[in-house]
């Protein structure tokens, strides 16, 4: 029974339970709803919640736990000698899954019966070609031992599927019956139903916490794994980044960190003055029609996906900078460079700086402005001497948030900054960043357990820690500032 069908059945039980529960409550009081403690619908809701929630919780839990349990049991069945040279247990496991899937296909197309399967062995039949006939491609001939594991895998999976269906449906029915039997006229159905609903609300708000925990755990777990294979000292202090297919890589973060900071610096040099002056102009100088036209137009920049900026860097800004600037001056010949990525990222960050600064500038009380004007200051003097100092913490917060954006930005640098890890001061040279290397190491062909892939998690953790620190500082600064004038 597929998960979809189980879901539908549970839903049907729950919805049916709702109507039965409501009808039951009404029939207990002879159709006079006033004699019930709660509105009749609440009795129905009670049955619905008790039928659906435990069943779905069990279903999700089962789906998460089942693969782990099966993998552990099957993994023990694979003999160490059937793991070929250069292969790993994981790869054999995926073969096992594929063979099991192939057997399913063969049985489904009635090429093979369950009885045949029991006696089938790899010596007698050419399993690989038969699998290929049903669209399951295998890399090599099937070893008997692996084949047995696959059969066992299939047997357990089928059993587990049925067990899951049974447990989930049983839970749904039990829950419904349990709630149904509790229905009495003075039973406080509304209180129970509302309390359970509140538990669901709390659970939903925990998703955010769980996400953070998940991020930290998944990053930390694989990072520890990485540091077992590769010394942490070299990762943090080595000045070369040079991953190799066949081991012996240099995986120093320094060139990546340098590239990241350099690109972010260029981006901030572009976006902070432009964003800040735009915010000042819009908040202090612009007439209402100008403001209402210009502000949304700038904010459109924030709504454009980063892939668009990446393409812009790749096909327009990069070649233009190279052909009209770097190449004539003889300072670079690459269209992907720190300048390209920084410039485009700067454009992307303008609305972040400007709309956050606009907010804080507007939050400065009018009395400060009036006081300054009354003393004879011009507008620009008021802005520079009164408003900016008052808004400074908020603006610093905005810049910190923009920095964290710049450091974590991926697509623009993937398409605009290049892939060469180097420590150089020349902004027209291609350099690379942490995020670029996370993408290239995780989408590359290297094997998952190798340090060359796992380094992506260490890079990810570094990135997470840096951006988290910036965000927290920015939030604290902004929050403290806001309280000042409230």
């Amino acid at each position: 029974m597929s998960v979809g069908i189980i879901t539908l059945i549970v839903l049907a039980i729950a919805v049916g339970g709702f109507f039965i529960g409501r009808a039951r409550a009404m029939s207990l009081v002879g159709g006079d709803a006033r004699k019930l403690h709660s509105l009749p619908g609440y009795y129905g809701q009670l049955v619905l919640i008790f039928a659906a929630v435990p069943a779905f919780a069990a279903l999700i839990l089962w789906l998460l736990v089942q693969p782990m349990v099966i993998e552990a049991r099957i993994g023990a069945l694979i003999a160490p000698e059937s793991i070929a040279e250069g292969s790993t247990r994981d790869l054999v496991m995926s073969d096992v899954r594929r063979i099991a899937n192939g057997i399913d296909q063969l049985v489904a197309q009635q090429v093979l019966s369950e009885a045949d399967l029991r006696t089938l062995s790899t010596e007698q039949s050419d399993l690989r070609s038969r699998m290929a006939d049903v669209g399951v491609a295998l890399g090599s001939d099937v070893v008997q031992n692996v084949f047995e594991a696959a059969k066992e895998y299939r047997r357990i999976s089928i059993f587990a599927r049925m067990a899951m269906a049974a447990v989930v449906l049983l839970l749904a029915v039990t829950g419904a019956v349990f709630a149904f039997r509790r229905i009495l006229p003075d039973f406080r159905a509304r209180n129970v139903s509302e309390a359970s609903f509140k538990v669901l609300l709390i659970a939903a708000s925990f998703v955010a916490v769980l996400t953070t925990v998940g991020i930290v755990l998944s990053l930390a777990f694989e990072t520890v794994h990485f540091f077992r294979l590769y010394p942490a000292k070299d990762f943090f202090f080595s000045l070369t980044w040079n991953p190799q297919f066949r081991g012996g890589s240099d995986l120093g973060i320094a060139p990546l960190l340098w590239g990241t900071l350099y690109v972010s610096f260029v981006a901030l040099v572009v976006s902070v003055p432009v964003g800040l002056f735009a915010a000042i102009f819009l908040a202090e100088y612009a007439s209402k029609p100008v403001r209402s036209a210009a502000k949304p137009a700038i904010e459109v920049l924030a709504g454009i996906p980063t892939i668009v900026y990446g393409l812009f860097a790749l096909v327009t800004v990069g070649p233009v900078l190279r052909d009209y600037f770097a190449a004539p001056l003889g300072i670079g010949s690459s269209s992907s460079s720190v300048m390209t990525a920084g410039l485009v990222m700067g454009i992307m960050l303008i609305p972040f700086v400007s709309s956050l600064s606009d907010d804080v500038i507007n939050a400065v009380p009018q009395s400060l402005r009036d006081g300054s004007y009354a003393l004879g200051a011009t507008r620009s003097e008021t802005v520079r001497r009164v408003i900016l100092p008052a808004a400074l913490p908020g603006i610093v917060g905005a810049i910190l948030l923009a920095t964290s954006r710049a450091i974590g930005e991926t697509m623009i640098v993937v398409m605009g900054a290049g892939a060469a890890a180097r420590l150089s001061l020349d902004p027209f040279e291609a350099m690379t960043t942490i995020t670029v290397k996370i993408v290239s190491q995780l989408t590359g062909d290297t094997e998952f357990g190798s340090p060359e892939t796992l380094v992506a998690f260490a890079l990810g953790l570094t990135l997470f820690v840096i951006t988290l620190a910036l965000n927290v500082v920015a939030l604290v600064v902004v929050r403290r500032y806001r309280e000042q004038y409230e």
Binding site: L201, A203, A208, L311, T378, R384, N471, L475
Partner: protein, 443 residues
């Protein structure tokens, strides 16, 4: 103590200091105008670059001709049995097309004597035989008759009519020769070739490196659609439930503070970190398939949730307390007050936030790269719910994919795909704006 001597001057003559201050004022104002214009200019250049590069992707060069389907070659058994006819590969159909093209050229009186037959057939896309084969297999009765066939021309020919390929570049190009371009010119003049709107770009699947003319966005659009559906179904209830709890029920304590700080931080965590989470949690740990829309959607949901919760809470907060007090006063429970009165009033704001969150999720690329959506996918995913687990692509990832390919024709397609993406975003955001204008209440 001597009194300060004020300079004798008229109020009408401006002194140096005032002039300096006024100049500074003008300069400062000019900086502001420059900054705003720079931002607008950047937006204009960005949009212009995308549109000027990409708009041509919607038009394509087609070769239009009549083909007489030779039943002896295409159905050797003569049974009109699709299963048996499927044994004839695209090579067999390719020969039919080549023969038809040569025939058509003769009929139009175009001499192709100076070009080899191989070069003539190179004008046709390598995708066309497959197109023809699908037409015939879908309708075996066509065999033996003459059909009107409209197939893609080779990408270089297409590029020639769009100005990407020129006679000079063709001399240096091993894939196309000036003679072939001249032939194409003659074919266009006689109506054998035409440039028209290319629906295949919107509906067709991706194509391999060698046939950019056939590459389409169908799988990517469908994949993105599937993901948005799942994100909507997951993020709306969870986001609304979380914001109701935090705004209406949560006690003021450390736990609540922790959750709030958490949400604010998650909104600013780089999206690529969510991609790593998706890879580690959903693919390596839970064993979900790579490249599947469901995995992409789960990751996007986690990214979108904080972006939904923050405006949803603001929207709930903006409902005046008098509404709550009134409901409580007539005996509603706290939950009834929230669900029956506060939530419906806050719904327009919540939905606006949701739609904007979805729009951001639609453009998200980096996390999808990490969970394997960058793979080359040619088959359309099945209908939901099974299709959620089939490999698919996504619009922004398809753009990235195309930019990584060597043929310049793919760069044009990437910009074209961006236009499609931007149009979707425009539509989604307009819905949000309309929703806000029409339903949002100011208290």
């Amino acid at each position: 103590m001597t009194p300060v001597q004020s300079p004798r001057r008229s109020l009408l003559t401006v002194d140096a200091r005032t002039r300096r201050r006024n100049a500074a004022e003008t300069r400062f104002r000019a900086y502001g105008i420059i900054a705003v214009s720079l931002a607008m200019l950047a937006l204009a250049v960005l949009l212009y670059s995308v549109f000027s590069n990409g708009i041509s992707a919607f038009r394509q060069t087609f070769i239009v001709m009549d083909i007489t389907l030779d039943s002896a070659a295409l159905d050797p058994t003569g049974q009109r049995d699709p299963a048996a006819m499927a044994k004839v590969t695209t090579i067999g159909y390719g020969k039919q097309i080549e023969a038809a093209l040569v025939h058509a050229l003769e009929a139009k009186g175009i001499s192709s004597a100076e070009i080899s037959a191989k070069d003539v057939s190179a004008l046709i896309s390598k995708e066309s035989p497959a197109q023809l084969r699908n037409i015939v297999l879908a309708n075996p009765a066509l065999l033996g008759s003459t059909i009107h066939f409209r197939g893609y021309a080779n990408a270089r020919i297409d590029g020639y009519f769009k100005g990407r390929v020129s006679m000079e570049s063709a001399v240096r190009d091993s894939n196309i020769s000036p003679a072939q371009l001249q032939l194409a010119d003659k074919m266009r003049a006689t109506g054998l070739m035409e440039v028209g709107f290319n629906w295949g770009f919107l509906t067709g699947p991706d194509a391999s490196e060698l046939r950019p003319e056939a590459a389409g966005l169908g799988v990517a659009i469908l994949g993105s659609l599937y993901m948005m559906l799942i994100v909507l179904v997951l993020a709306l209830p969870i986001g609304v439930a979380a914001s109701i709890y935090l705004e209406e029920f949560a006690p003021q304590n450390r736990w609540t503070d922790l959750i709030e700080v958490n949400i604010a931080n998650l909104a600013a965590v780089p999206s690529i970190v969510f991609g790593i989470l998706g890879l580690a949690l959903f693919i390596n740990f839970a064993g979900l398939p790579q490249s599947a829309p469901v995995v992409g959607a789960l990751v996007l949901t986690l990214i979108t949730l904080p972006r939904i919760i923050i405006p949803a809470r603001a929207s709930l907060k903006s409902v005046p307390p008098s509404i709550r007090d009134a409901a409580l006063a007539v005996g509603a429970s706290k939950m009834q007050t929230v669900l029956h009165h506060v939530l419906p009033l806050a719904m327009p704001g919540i939905l606006t936030g949701l739609i904007i969150g979805l729009a951001q999720a639609l453009g998200e690329t980096a996390p999808l790269l990490l969970i394997g959506m960058v793979a080359f996918v040619r088959d359309f995913p099945a209908a939901p719910p099974e299709g959620f687990f089939d490999p698919a692509s996504a619009l922004p990832v398809q753009v990235y994919n195309w930019t990584q390919r060597a043929d310049p024709a793919f760069a044009e397609r990437a910009s074209g795909a961006i236009i499609v993406l931007l149009v979707f975003l425009l539509v989604i955001n307009s819905v949000a704006i309309v929703l806000r204008r029409r339903f949002e209440r100011r208290w």
